[in-house]
Symmetry: C2
């Protein structure tokens, strides 16, 4: 049976146009069953523009939309029939296996956390993103769900990113790096220093602190950071790449020879753009939630939506969440064993198993 | 009388070679008096390679060097005769008006703070950097001196950056932006939110939160952030630019036509590199210290050192520090007036004037 992917038809700067186009592409290319959620008339109008040659697309009506600039918490409280809220309801009811949304990230995080809950053992969800580097794909987590994490949250992000890298990218011993202001142990804030300690003691291939300059070199397979830093880094990168593109274009119009040269190297630049394009990676995952929620960029093209849907199907198929739950329950077993044998376990595991699952959200 | 600039001859990845070469260039180009501090024999050997045609260069011996990877605090404690410690001693003794160092940043910050002290009214020093943007030079502060700032520290950084932009870059109403994960008020950590409140109430051209994507657009003349985020952003940018350069070069070797095209556009790329080059800006300033301390990149070229020395002379000439002291003492006057007239002053100014100047340093 093909995976059933619920797509927030109204989420994003170019919704529903790009979302519907991307959904059609995904249905045709990957033979998936797609449920588009949102205003029926608007979605139908878009859908009629395309021919669905494979897979299956249906529409599920939702009367409201959460705007990109709306306050997540109040939007979730007030708009019970928004496309994102209805999408989550459908997932919960078992009508689909995953959600893809390019809408208001804060609202998606808040609604998912409150209504789907967290995976057993996980304290806070985080957003994991794939980044193209010199030596393949690396992962960074968190890039915006949790701007005030504790060391335990960051530690759990490392564990989840490790499982993701093994499961989705088939990496054998993913190198885990902690984003910091210097490579030496003892650098950074108290929270980062305590996270370092937890990671060093864990059963992970922890390579220590990594500096910003190694964000895109592939030195670490998984880069762990708080959501504030991760969010700023992503957006700085986006802005920089846009600016450089503009600057190069501006320079290249300054002389006739430059224009000829630019024409000659155009295919190389297009290829480069493709190689460094986030859209290929197919969205970020809100990890730690009891459900598969893929968050695509607000300005997603149809191609980005298509790839996000592909990623959603892949995460469902390879069952990343089960691996995470299994990992954390094994940790519990270890702890119980340790208790029975009167052995000491690490400070972290004890603390983790005692505190209740928190679903409160910041900002 | 020409400005006398003290240059840490042993600081940096390519010291003393690049430092001495840059010092000679600065002496020749700007008719300055330069005191090179460090191991006499090594400095003499380098100095003999060049001809000093203007200005004046002397050598002041210091037997020790703080390594780039050394722990700042222990290095400052143990190496009393290091080139950076001796440089600071010379500044304090009035032998020069400013220091330029490309050495261990942490050591420079720690030694400056402890031995030179802070400007009256300033709670913590911060590193201010000039960044080339689409519409000219912007400033960012702090990029690494203070990774755990309070809202008051961040507020003071905004005031100092504002004064710097007015004094050095002749900007009339510098736009002050607070780096955050979203533009809306109410975004960010508690510290960022409280800083927002302080800035909104202040006599500054505060334009609100700015996101990472506007770091290089020139939307804000002064970008305020904590030292952790600022440091990571700078290093990510460096890494990204290096990677892109490498990727472009790699792509351009893939076909004969690309190679021809690359030759044709070479001058455009060189110009672009120059326009986006941090080295042109001439180093960062450790602002808030009672003294002028310019911190240059560890991997500085001779050209970067030359420009950092030029910047040092400029900051001395335009007397940025006096403007800062004047500003904060005016605030005191205002406060006294307010008290006498039983008027209320802002929460921040009251708090600022009551707490003692703190010279403790983190990490």
């Amino acid at each position: 049976m093909p995976e059933r992917i619920i797509v927030d038809g109204m989420g994003g700067d170019h919704a529903p146009e790009n979302v519907v186009e991307g959904a059609v592409q995904a249905a045709n290319d990957f033979d998936l069953e797609i449920i588009l959620v949102g205003q029926e008339q608007a979605l139908k109008r878009e859908l009629h523009k395309y021919k669905v040659t494979g897979g299956k697309i249906s529409i599920h009506h939702a009367s409201q939309t959460v705007g990109m600039g709306e306050s997540p918490v109040s939007a979730i409280r007030k708009k019970k029939d928004s496309s994102i809220a209805v999408s989550i309801g459908l997932l919960k009811a078992g009508e689909g296996e995953a959600i893809v949304t390019a809408g208001n990230t804060g609202a998606a995080v808040a609604a998912s956390t409150l209504n789907l809950g967290l995976l057993k053992g996980i304290k806070r969800p985080g957003i994991l993103i794939s980044i193209p580097t010199r030596s393949g794909i690396s992962l960074a987590m968190d890039v915006g769900a949790n701007i005030d994490p504790t060391p335990e949250h960051l530690f759990q992000y490392a564990v989840m990113a490790d499982i993701y890298a093994r499961t989705i990218f088939k990496k054998r011993q993913p190198a885990i790096g902690l984003l910091n202001i210097g490579e030496e142990e003892g650098k950074g804030t108290d929270i980062v220093k305590e996270t370092y300690r937890l990671l060093r003691e864990a059963d992970l291939n922890f390579i220590g602190n990594i500096e910003g300059r190694d964000f895109f070199t592939g030195k670490a397979d998984c880069i762990i950071c708080d959501g504030f830093v991760g969010n700023v880094v992503l957006k700085v990168t986006e802005g920089l790449l846009e600016n450089i593109g503009g600057l190069i274009q501006k320079e290249l119009t300054k002389s006739f020879f430059f224009k000829i040269g630019a024409l000659l190297i155009r295919p190389a630049l297009i290829n480069l753009k493709k190689e460094t394009n986030y859209e290929e990676a197919g969205g970020a995952q809100l990890l730690g939630i009891d459900g598969v929620v893929i968050i695509s960029h607000g300005s997603s093209s149809a191609w980005a939506i298509r790839n996000a849907i592909r990623k959603a199907a892949q995460v469902v198929e390879l069952d990343v969440n089960s691996h995470i739950v299994q990992h954390f329950s094994q940790k519990d077993i270890l702890k119980d064993k340790a208790k029975n044998a009167e052995m000491t376990e690490s400070h972290f595991v004890d603390k983790a198993s005692q505190s209740p699952i928190s679903t409160e959200l910041k900002g």
